[in-house]
Symmetry: C2
């Protein structure tokens, strides 16, 4: 399997973390989004959505969308519960991440760190919703080690992806002790020091 | 099972369509988003994300996020392939819908139809990305009846939800013959005349 990804992208790191944790062998193909590597004709032929990450199986079949990929890779593993409802509660976080977290936390980081926009010129509504997302996580983690009741799962991997870099988008985990401790727990689980 | 939903919301209609197609009995609890029904303390206690739709099982357990819900309801049915990779290709569309389609097509509709913003005052970047999303669907449906190779699935239901109302956000399906014919096919499948 090949993973096409950009190491600056949290979405791509989700796939790397999942494959590494499950011991799935892969070749990492670095695709530099800032240089347009995901918009070349060759890339678009494999993934018309023009986004990273993407995986390419040994038989040539391709799959895009970070959370669809990790869900596929983790099937039958400890990272995705067997029980249908428990798996659905993981899915609930995966979809929430893409709609209510990534567009704010990740996009503010991208605008500041990679496009050079000063913190005070970031979109106010994105900052506001990013803070609301972190607050929701803080509440969800009250008295809990992980986001779902199924231990460390894909839900934690998907939310860790950009939460760990929230400060790079101008967000702060100070005053969000639950999130901060959870980031550390996730890092320990994944083996990031 | 109770479905908490707002009939003006495509996200909620996904759940209705799926339950109806599979013959799953439910009680529809209308939650008027414009009146704040999804932000009351009672609602937030059940769904801290404060969004519709949500389902509540007979034992009181709740699940939010439209695509997580339909995925849960459709497990083991003809709407979600058994094969893991084929199911992942459905997931690919579900996640793409929430990140690259809904925030443009549905939000423009909401701003125009429900908040009263004139078409020419809609966010230009949302209009641009909405059109790009419809163009991608047009290409994906070239020579194909459905979005994936597994027949009519949750991918079609999820994308139908707001594509069928695209005109209400100022988008046009004229010149997008594949999408237009596919909307008609979806409606026939669901029994919408």
């Amino acid at each position: 399997m090949k993973i096409y990804g950009d190491m600056i992208s949290g979405n791509c790191l989700k796939v790397k973390y999942t494959a590494d944790l499950l011991g799935i062998p892969y070749e990492w193909v670095e695709a530099d989004v800032l240089k347009g590597d995901s918009r070349t004709p060759d890339y678009l032929a494999k993934n018309p959505q023009g986004q990273v990450p993407m995986i390419e199986l040994d038989d040539g079949r391709t799959l895009a969308q970070s959370n669809a990929i990790i869900r596929y890779l983790a099937r039958g593993s400890r990272l995705l519960p067997d029980d249908a409802f428990a798996a659905a509660k993981v899915d609930e976080w995966l979809f929430w991440e893409q709609y209510s977290h990534e567009p704010y936390i990740a996009v503010c980081r991208f605008h500041h760190k990679y496009l050079g926009k000063p913190f005070n010129e970031l979109d106010g509504w994105r900052v506001e919703r990013g803070n609301a997302a972190l607050d929701l996580m803080e509440d969800a983690l009250e008295g809990k080690d992980w986001l779902t009741d199924s231990g460390f799962t894909l839900a934690d991997i998907a939310l860790l992806a950009y939460t760990q870099f929230a400060h790079e988008g101008g967000f702060s985990l100070e005053g969000r002790a639950n999130v901060k401790a959870w980031v550390d727990r996730c890092h320990a689980e994944i083996g990031i020091s």
